[in-house]
């Protein structure tokens, strides 16, 4: 970035400064601690100068927004054209109560929807399954069948709003319901936009909602991607997620590295299916975390964009620039939020939102200040949404693109994170790829070790955590928490019995039989899943068909 002559002078001047003013200051009053590190444990120097970015080549490494290597952003105008999509992850109780929350949020200026399903749906069980007892509607919305889905999107036009669905092992079932509802609303599939998470690898790594052995799960994942590429072109057919990896304890660089490793595995699987990389890669999307250390997060996003672009170009020989774009959703760091002095969380989320804006995300969920207490109350979620609106409208972060580019610190940290990502990817390649690295527990153990290190730092007081190990105070127990009562489960169970009795049995049976037949072949299951949900098969029934054929999976859990 700088000429040699300039660098030489800076080097000399810096040494002079170190020997002179710095040494003098240090001798009078030493710094607060011997080493400074980011929350990820990465070292932070006292001062960054051009010397730290001497091998950055502007054209090669930074370039221009919307062009390779996309370090500065994926669109030429970024937020000057349109802000990120404000998309609060929400769901609780039954479809009706969640639909009300959605319409409230849209009224308040939210610009996209994001469905949080209850755990039985995520695990492929109906609400009346024995393993669903006590769980129905507790931490997400209970969706068992297409009628629930219709209620969920009641009075919400699917051509006007995009929807993200956090659904993984049974992703195709829920997407099928969504597409069926779009059809009912007479919205053509070409116009339907949104995302389905469909990322089973990270379920095995750190989220726990797996059902089938990896090989079969990957097949379902690829079926969905292939189907969308043909029939739902605006749909993001996967959201390759680092968010959960970070929440489970990883560092920023590990979050990026392991997510990209997963991305490589999915891309590889699609190519092995016979798809051309440029036919599906533009619809691969990503999902990351934003912690409170603003500058490290910005560097992470920039490093990720640059690295992914190179992966797609070099490894997969993509030609379409859109295949090389790391487009991503962000959720602010839930695990950074405390149960103690919960209002402090508003400040943390504001900083994390700022990091996301400076980092160039495409959409964002902001956590509520009651994150560590319960599902968000209406008041808390409103503040969270307003936080996004304030950062977008008032902070100025959105006025210019990638405003931190050229900061010696941020550029140098971008390089460092990219190098660390590269090192991990090489290691994972050497192990035989992502799936092998997961099977050997490598990725899980790396995450666990980081989580452990972080906990030790907090408990030793080495890292300050406001309200936890410093500035603590006595507080009355929190009140007014959001609660979902057990009656939802009873209601759902009764309603399911009726639903099953009422449907056209012959049609229902034929659709499930057909699905069973096709699932044991190589044919894409998606069209048959759509038929099955339309014939009123439930999530649990469809997942059971696959349980019979694929078997159930219990990954090794590394401690």
């Amino acid at each position: 970035m700088f000429e040699d002559k300039v660098l030489k002078k800076i080097k000399a001047d810096k040494e002079k400064w170190e020997r002179g003013p710095l040494a003098k200051s240090l001798s009078k009053s030493p710094e607060a601690k011997p080493v400074f590190t980011t929350i990820s444990g990465a070292p932070v120097e006292r001062l960054y100068t051009p010397l730290d970015v001497d091998d950055v080549d502007y054209d090669r490494d930074l370039g221009y927004p919307g062009t390779f290597p996309f370090t500065r952003g994926v669109q030429p105008t970024m937020y000057r054209g349109r802000y990120w999509t404000m998309r609060q992850y929400a769901g609780f109780g039954d479809a009706k109560s969640t639909n009300e929350r959605y319409r409230y949020l849209l009224e308040q200026g939210q610009t996209g929807l994001s469905v949080a399903f209850h755990l039985p749906t995520q695990a492929g069980y109906d609400s009346d399954h024995p393993l669903s007892m006590g769980e129905v509607g507790k931490v997400g919305v209970a969706i068992d069948h297409i009628d629930d889905m219709r209620v969920l999107f009641d009075r919400i036009p699917l051509d006007k709003v995009t929807t993200s669905m956090t659904m993984n092992a049974p992703a195709s079932v829920l997407l099928a319901m969504y597409l069926a509802i779009a059809k009912e609303q007479e919205v053509p599939w070409e116009k339907v936009g949104g995302t389905v998470q469909n990322d089973v690898l990270k379920e095995i790594i750190c989220r726990g909602q797996y059902i089938y052995p990896p090989r079969h799960s990957m097949r379902l994942t690829v079926d969905l991607i292939e189907f969308c590429q043909k029939y739902v072109p605006k749909w993001n057919s996967i959201s390759i997620s680092g968010y959960h990896i970070r929440e489970a304890g990883s560092t920023a660089a590990q979050e990026m590295a392991f997510t990209i490793a997963d991305g490589i595995a999915y891309t590889q699987a699609c190519i092995e299916r016979g798809m051309d990389v440029d036919s599906f890669a533009p619809r691969l999307s990503f999902f990351f975390n934003a912690f409170t250390n603003v500058l490290e997060e910005v560097a992470k996003f920039r490093a990720g964009r640059r690295y992914w672009a190179k992966v797609m170009l070099d490894r997969f020989k993509a030609k379409d620039p859109r295949s090389m774009m790391l487009r991503f959703h962000v959720q602010t760091g839930g695990v950074t939020l405390t149960a103690q002095q919960p209002l402090n969380n508003i400040i943390r989320v504001a900083l994390q939102t700022y990091a996301t804006a400076l980092g160039g995300a495409q959409s964002l969920h902001t956590n509520s200040y009651d994150e560590a207490l319960c599902l968000p109350t209406q008041q808390a979620v409103t503040v969270a949404l307003r936080t996004q609106q304030i950062v977008a409208e008032e902070s100025g972060a959105t006025d210019t693109i990638d405003p931190l580019a050229g900061s010696y610190y941020v550029e140098s940290m971008t390089d460092r994170i990219e190098a660390e990502v590269d090192e991990y990817i090489k290691k994972i390649d050497a192990m035989g790829g992502t799936l092998a690295a997961i099977e050997q527990g490598f990725i899980q153990k790396e995450i666990q070790n980081s989580a452990y290190r972080f906990q030790k730092e907090i408990e030793s007081g080495e890292r300050v955590y406001v309200g936890i190990n410093k500035y603590t105070m006595e507080e009355p127990p929190p009140s007014g928490l959001l609660k979902v009562d057990m009656s939802v489960g009873q209601k759902k169970a009764a309603e399911l019995a009726e639903y099953r009795a009422r449907r056209d049995q012959a049609k229902w049976k034929a659709a499930l039989d057909k699905l069973r037949e096709v699932s044991s072949t190589d044919e894409n299951v998606m069209p048959y899943v759509i038929e099955a949900v339309t014939a009123k098969a439930t999530v649990g029934e469809i997942c059971d068909v696959w349980r019979d054929i694929f078997g159930e999976y219990r990954p090794k859990e590394y401690v």
């Binding site: 755990l119 726990g208 489970a248 695990v335 149960a339 103690q340 309200g467 936890i468 859990e557 401690v559």
Partner: protein
Amino acid sequence: MARKIKMIMAKPGLDGHDRGAKLLARICAEAGMEVVYTGLRQTPEMIVAAAEQEDADVVGLSSLSGVHNYFFPRVVELMKQKGMEDVLLVGGGIIPEEDYDFLKKSGMGAIFGPGTPTTEIVEFIQANVRQR
């Protein structure tokens, strides 16, 4: 041979939040305990069977998905049925403080919420565990 505290660390229900449970399992092992981690998706029956077969001194239940009031008392009840009243039950996760009383009355030894130092948990276990 010195006696070791044997602990079961379990995740009842469909909850996938295991960061805290794994962390605690590791830290209790470092404190000299022998910790059996059951993994995710345990039914109360599975947890109690494990506690019985392993002759656990402590059973830890971690729940962050709002199902504590359903699962914890069921585990306690099954333990009672098997005459395992002397086993210390501890729990933690996202549990509203207003539920603590109910859970303790139903037989939980203690409940720990987010932000609790793990040393506090280890000390509690060491101080309250049974003799065999």
